[in-house]
């Protein structure tokens, strides 16, 4: 089992009603983290996280990155103590 920390920004923070959380995962997989977050915070969060057609992480208007700034994918593995940041992907104006 590993513990992964999450940081929620902008719309994610509103959906989670918190800016930080931690999850104990049986498998060190992004897919498990996404499933746990979706289950905990409900269908709107689920819709932000998972693309309903591809069942991959939703890339539309979102950005999920590890501590090195790399966008994570469903098949990626996670390290114990790692922090994943959930951001909205928008620019300009």
């Amino acid at each position: 089992m590993i513990t992964v920390h999450t940081e929620f920004h902008s719309h994610f923070r509103e959906l989670a009603a918190t800016d930080k959380d931690s999850f104990d995962l049986d498998q060190p997989l992004v897919s498990e983290l996404a499933e746990r977050i979706g289950a905990k915070y409900g269908p709107k969060m689920q819709a932000m996280l998972i693309d309903p057609e591809t069942h991959e992480l939703n890339e539309r208007g979102t950005m999920f990155v590890d501590t090195k700034g790399r966008r994570i994918s469903m098949e990626d593995t996670l390290d114990d103590g790692e922090t994943i940041t959930f951001l909205v992907g928008i620019a300009g104006g």
């Binding site: 920004h9 902008s10 719309h11 994610f12 509103e14 709107k44 819709a47 932000m48 309903p52 991959e56 939703n58 890339e59 539309r60 208007g61 979102t62 950005m63 990155v65 501590t67 090195k68 700034g69 790399r70 966008r71 994918s73 940041t85 951001l87 909205v88 992907g89 928008i90 620019a91 300009g92 104006g93």
Partner: protein, 653 residues
């Protein structure tokens, strides 16, 4: 579908309406494409090297075929002209209700030439055109001018919508923009100076006509499908809530702000790092085009309790600031109070002036002062009044804005064309080289975001047809690391989304430029596409709407060629005025000075710049050594006539 062009010669007072021949649409599909073609043709009979502030320049306003049709993608109007601040191709988009009112009045394009003998404005009401005296409007800002015109022309046959310039445009300030309905600025490239130099204060439009749609059933079906797609995208709700300010926290996390003239890339100040403040100002209201399924805009009204500085602005109401308004104030100028940031947005809009150029000009001088490269005496001589040049000092920043708008001192005159030309002039005056601290690309003001970790976007800053630009290329594939998009665009390859390699970066610049040219030609807002570039592809998804409205059915491949053709015409214009590979470059800080903050430290443009630029030319089919277009590429795009002009000018490879 018939498209009507209104030609106005302000020197003679002649106004003529003409139908644009169908053959023109075979090459230029609408919107920016037609605007560009009108300008190109104009400069076949007028000196392309003319003074942009002189009567030989042309000012074109146009809307694309999807604008106002219920396509649900918002509406963008576009102005096109030779830029007075950068002396090359210039254009700028703006949204709101003015563009579709132009269509309702019976026109899609307005081309204005010459110079009126005295201040005037253009009034259009259902194809009736008048050139009217503007003596009572001269000297007013954009909000005042708009209010007076609305009062004057009333609400029949429709409410009056306006395009206005402020005192900055009247005074020939090169970075003066044009403001739609006192709310939305066409900021870039100095369209306000072009209007002002023609003694044209405003365009007021009223219309009650309908819009032709060739296949209405197809259009309604497309629109219905688009609505469903938008409604099923949860990210849209987040975007509605915050607009582009949703970028604040992402940029803070990755280090993509433009702090203190880009000496850093993170905002300082506890409150502005977060977008929680947005709730204080957020009030839904009808400031968006009625043809937008997202409607990301909102108004604020300051009640004085929001922050320490809010007391200064009690009762002030305006549009919620966009990200780049925030980036220029909270970033470039280090303003840390949100009421002041919001006020900066209103101030620059009312004065109709580009806040990117302005903030980069002021922050350039603030940095010189911070580094003791200029003395208090130097500052006093430049400004002629008390001026601290302290970071974040809003009162002194406001004074700088008025110095430029009213051209009231050496600073205002020297920086009227933005940071690049201002820095050159100031360096010459002081006998020192300060260019290291000027932020620009291709002579145009940087837009206020960190660029150094992002090779595609850096390339955009160098090659964009109107100077450093985030709206011609948009490097979101790499910034958001969208491997899914990279795979779609490049046959399964993912390198376009990989920040660590030069692979596909030049190609990505070109492909996205072509796509954006299509969006700009349709006359739609880019944000829908940005929220799902895989789903709302300009050449495929939007192409179906284009076909339904115009009856012109194009394959995705043909439409991508249309986009490429538009980019090539902009390039050709710049080649005619002498721009070559050496002009496709960026400022010294971006090129050589490493980033120190954010999650991508130690990045400089120089690491990848030349490779990406050469790849871009190769992907474009242009000559790598000179940067010029080749006849072979122009022939492939059906632009032999353009190649002939370039050859005659010695501007063809």
């Amino acid at each position: 579908m018939e498209s009507r062009l209104l030609r106005v010669d302000l020197t003679t007072g002649e106004c003529n309406s003409e139908v644009i021949p169908h053959s023109v649409f075979e090459r230029w599909i609408g919107g920016s494409g037609i605007n560009n073609w009108i300008m190109w043709e104009h400069f076949l009979t007028h000196d392309v090297n003319c003074d942009p502030r002189g009567p030989d320049n042309i000012f074109v306003f146009g809307v694309g075929p999807l604008a106002g049709t219920g396509a649900g993608s918002g509406i963008k109007g576009r102005i096109t002209f030779k830029s007075p601040c950068y002396n090359m191709f210039g254009d700028s988009a703006g949204g709101g209700k003015f563009p579709y009112m132009v269509r309702f009045s019976g026109f899609e394009y307005i081309a204005i030439t010459g110079k009126a003998p005295k201040p005037c404005y253009l009034h259009i009401s259902n194809q009736e055109v008048s050139i009217l005296d503007a003596a009572h409007l001269w000297g007013k800002n954009t909000a005042e001018t708009h209010a007076l015109l609305q009062e004057e022309h009333g609400t029949y046959p429709s409410k009056t919508h306006t395009l206005t310039v402020s005192q900055a445009g009247e005074n020939g300030v090169g970075i003066a923009g044009v403001v739609s309905d006192a709310l939305r600025i066409h900021a870039r490239c100095g369209g306000g100076a072009v209007m002002g130099s023609k003694n044209l204060k405003a365009i007021a439009v009223q219309g009650s006509g309908g819009l032709p749609v060739t296949r209405p059933k197809d259009m309604l079906a497309w629109s219905d499908d688009f609505r469903k797609k938008i409604d099923s995208n949860e990210a849209v709700y987040g975007f509605k809530r915050r607009g582009t300010l949703g970028a604040v926290e992402m940029y803070q996390h990755i280090g993509s702000h433009f702090w203190r003239n880009n000496q850093g890339n993170m905002f300082r100040g506890d409150e502005i790092r977060s977008d929680n403040w947005v709730k204080k100002y957020h009030k839904y209201s009808e400031v968006c085009s009625s043809d937008c399924f997202i409607a990301c805009d909102a108004k604020y009204k300051i009640d004085g309790t929001e922050s320490e500085a809010a007391q200064k602005y009690v009762g002030e109401t305006f549009r919620r600031p966009e990200y780049l308004t925030t980036g220029s104030a909270a970033g470039a100028l280090d303003v840390r109070d949100w009421a002041e940031v919001a006020h900066w947005g209103k101030l620059t809009n009312d004065y109709g002036i580009d806040n990117q150029d302005l903030s980069c000009s002021i922050s350039f001088l603030m940095e010189l002062k911070q580094r003791d490269l200029i003395s208090d005496r130097d500052v006093a001589e430049l400004f002629g009044h008390e001026q601290s040049l302290e970071w974040g000092n809003m009162e002194d920043i406001e004074a700088c804005v008025e110095d430029v708008v009213f051209q009231r001192n050496a600073f205002g005159v020297m920086f009227r064309d933005g940071p690049y030309h201002g820095a050159l002039k100031y360096s010459a005056m002081m006998g020192k080289n300060f260019m290291k601290y000027a932020m620009y690309g291709k002579g145009g003001a940087s837009f206020t975001e960190e660029m150094r970790p992002f090779p595609t976007w850096m390339n955009n800053m160098a090659v964009a047809s109107r100077g450093a630009d985030h709206l011609k290329g948009i490097g979101l594939i790499e910034k958001f690391q969208r491997k899914d998009l990279s795979k779609i665009y490049f046959d399964g390859r993912i390198e376009a989304a990989d920040l660590s390699t030069t692979e596909l970066k030049g190609a990505c610049t070109a492909v996205v430029e072509n796509q954006v040219a299509l969006l700009n030609s349709y006359g739609v807002c880019m944000f829908h596409w940005m929220l799902d570039p895989a789903g709302y592809t300009p050449q495929d998804y939007y192409g179906k709407a284009y076909g339904a409205v115009t009856g012109i059915d194009r394959t995705p491949k043909e439409l991508m060629h249309d986009g490429e053709r538009i980019c090539n015409l902009e390039k050709a214009f710049n080649s005619r005025v002498g721009m070559r590979r050496e002009h496709d470059t960026v400022c010294e800080r971006w090129m050589w000075e490493p980033t120190e903050e954010g999650i991508y430290p130690g990045k400089v443009a120089a690491d990848m710049f030349e490779t990406v630029l050469s790849d871009y030319y190769e992907w474009r089919g242009w000559d790598k050594a000179s940067g010029l277009q080749t006849r072979a590429k122009l022939t492939e795009l059906g632009l032999d006539d353009v190649a002939d002009v370039l050859e005659a000018d010695g501007a063809l490879a």
